[in-house]
Amino acid sequence: MMGSPTALENRITFLIGGEAGQGITRGGSVLGRSLTRAGLHVFGTIDYPSIIRGGHNFYTLTVSGKEVYAPDDMVDLVIALNKETALLHLHALRKGGGIVYDERIDFEEGEIPEEGVKLFSIPLTDIVKEVKGPPIMRNTVALGAALALVGLDTKHLEGVIAEAFAGREKVVESNVSAIRMGHDFAWAHHEFDGRFKTEESSPDRIMVTGSEAIALGAIGAGCMFYSAYPMTPASAVLHYLISKDQETGMIVIQAESEIAAVTMTVGAAYAGLRSMTGTSGGGFCLMTEGFGLAGATESPIVVMLGQRPGPSTGMATYTAQADLLFAIHVSQGEFPRVVVAPGDVDDCFTRTVEAFNLAEKYQIPAIILADKHILESHQSTQPFDDETIEIERGELIDVDEWTGEGEYKRYEITESGVSPKIILGTRGATMLANGNEHDEYGFTTADPVGVVAMADKRFRKSPRLVEDINGLEPVKVYGGSDPDVTLVGWGSTKGPALEALKLLGEEGINARFIQIVYMEPFPSEAFAKAMEDGGKSMLLETNITNQLGRLIKEHTGLGFDKAWAKYDGRPFNPGEIAAEARRLA
């Protein structure tokens, strides 16, 4: 049998599917981590409804010897933990692809086409029984079998499992047996062409989700306070940080509501801590007033907004980029703020550090605008380098640096617009923050001259802020010069767009992708420059009204040959982007 196209280029896509509660994400990520350890590149993503048990879940994992930015549209190997999975994803199975399933599943005649689909029946249940494991372990057996099919050994999988159950010898043992039995059964009984060449391997990489990368970025940036209320897809940041609070020395709090979460964050920032909160749309609504308090009191906070489809509670476990304009314009009145949208796990790490630095340097609130697809997907990458982190605290006066002369003015009118800030408890100085309009000391005022001076002070930060942002690659360009077509997008669209560039390249179409990273202040010049000589242009957004397009129109007057709005809660697929681009080019 002919190998599938991806197998030929040393690339394969797995899909693990079953019911909620069958450990689908766990299975997918364990496989991804094992393959990362094997030196391969991976991108894995989970699709699940907001249901704890039951309901169809599936995890798509694309693995390759080269960089992977998004899962492929088509699947090579389906690992079906129930029959539904096999049937539901047949349409996405590449010709020559296979299905790993429990021998106890019976397919009726005609359910599976006779040609082009390989059936890999494995005694999942029997093996689990043999090793006396719980039903959920069928998952593990199937992973062992899948590795055999793609020609890999189980060393790394065993390692990952052993670490996961560290200290529970018995469990590790039975899992390892399950893996090996699955592997050996498949090796003995089945054949599949998608064998990996691991010589292309790049070892010592890590695999993380966007949430984890953001959490690590926060830790690296010296965040000392995180307060949040659970909300998909932001909760994972909370979970991770709370699990590590003793190692990091961070205070991590589950607040009673998003209102409490954000106002606690502002309180901690006032005192002098780098502080952060995270939420999704509904919770962000509840944070808007506190966000404005941060703006008015010049308290540097970082808010991670993990977008999911709205309006209202919408679709809790799906993805969208539909909160952009809301985030940019949020809260009454006006004050400088930063909105930055990471596009992959590396961005999640580095841009989080930048957000903390900008927030503190300019004493303004910053929003990290992520989405479910980026937050919950796994991506392999080079380990983040903590040595590259530079913590810039701006005009924060260290406790020992306070000279103690005169009364301290929290809102001193300065040329830069930034007023030196002390740490709460500095001997001999008191600090008055005020969400009402105020004078230099922080006392409430409505004096027409004074209030204009204070607003001007706040907005005097803008030019330098813009300058700083221009130095941070606010717009990134991928692909060659003089392209036939230029794709423009942001956030998690980066991955599928980069994959689409590859697909187009294979067809000889020269394409470019422009990623806008900073949304506010908007990098107009950098963007306009990147758009020069770009051929046809296509905007990609997972929202209905093309929010980035509207922002671009406002700031640059530029339009697009095509503006594609996808809003079914699913991320873009590389293939569909390539197809549209092809039509346009």
Binding site: V208, I219, A221, D245, I251, I389, G442
Partner: protein
């Protein structure tokens, strides 16, 4: 150690002449003086309302926040710098109307802070609407036929929320108020001091006269502040006799006690160290 004078600011005071807030502020200042605290050792967090002007008149660290959010801000500040004596100043509307979502949570968490409620049973700054503590039948701008929602009882609400220190003061009993404030500030844990504060502009019922006739001191009445049932019973009293003093007082571990990272120096003193992340990153290999 700050003196009463040093605790004042140069800001013109805009409370109405005769407002209960003057006495309240005075009582708080006297308690701070008694505790021998420096100005930089105290942080005042104020909500929005007439009470919120307190940060304009009290020369300690201050944060004038948004309406109803005194407690989460104060809680966070205490965690950030455990050496500060943190006092929240909220109105009855601020604490029990818009801010009600935080009160029981602060109480059960038990951060080592004090919440002073300027309880004038009315919305002062917004010109006299019904407050959650406004009593049945009271005619206000927004209850033209008299308030018909049972009033929130700050004392029983605090008791039901597991608050460790639950007390009521009255600005017309200054020495008692100063003692109470001192006790609250010394208490290790969340202390509620609900203070009867006549609003001379909008509340024509709960006046000085009204209270002078009715208040009596729990401390002189044989009340046992460790008896929860008795505390609930006293909390219900509001007619001929209105109790002031400590309803309930029991210490337990504070919120801060539960964070291992708070064992050492205050959070705000710690140096930021980006190196800590290296080991964690390696766990993702």
């Amino acid at each position: 150690m700050a003196s009463i004078r040093e605790l004042g600011t140069d800001q013109k005071n805009y409370w109405c002449p005769g407002c209960g807030n003057f006495g309240l502020l005075n009582g708080v200042k006297r308690a701070i003086v008694r505790l021998g605290l420096r100005r930089d050792q105290v942080t005042a967090v104020t909500g929005i309302g007439c009470h919120g002007k307190t940060t304009n008149y009290l020369a300690v660290n201050g944060f004038h926040v948004i309406h109803g959010r005194v407690l989460p801000v104060a809680t966070a500040i205490k965690l950030a710098n455990k050496e500060q004596t943190v006092i929240g100043f909220a109105g009855d509307g601020d604490a029990f109307g818009i801010g009600m979502g935080h009160f029981p949570h602060a109480a059960r968490r038990n951060p080592n802070i004090t919440l002073v409620v300027h309880n004038n049973l009315i919305y002062g700054l917004t010109t006299g609407q019904t407050s959650p503590t406004t009593k049945l039948g009271h005619v206000t701008k927004t209850s033209p036929r008299g308030a018909f929602e049972e009033a929130i009882n700050p004392i029983s609400t605090a008791l039901a929320s597991n608050a460790g220190f639950v007390a009521r003061g009255y600005v017309g009993e200054m020495d008692h108020l100063v003692d109470l404030m001192e006790e609250a500030l010394r208490f290790r844990g969340f202390a509620l001091v609900d203070i009867l504060q006549p609003c001379v502009a909008w509340n024509r019922i709960n006046t000085y006269d009204f209270y002078n006739k009715r208040v009596y001191k729990l401390g002189e009445s044989g009340h046992d502040p460790t008896d929860l049932t008795a505390a609930y019973e006293r909390a219900e009293e509001w007619s001929e006799r209105i109790p002031i003093g400590v309803f309930y007082k029991v210490e337990r571990p504070t919120y801060g006690d539960n964070f291992p990272v708070l064992a050492g120096e205050p959070m705000v003193r710690k140096k930021l160290d980006s190196g800590k992340v290296a080991k964690l990153i390696s766990e993702f290999a």
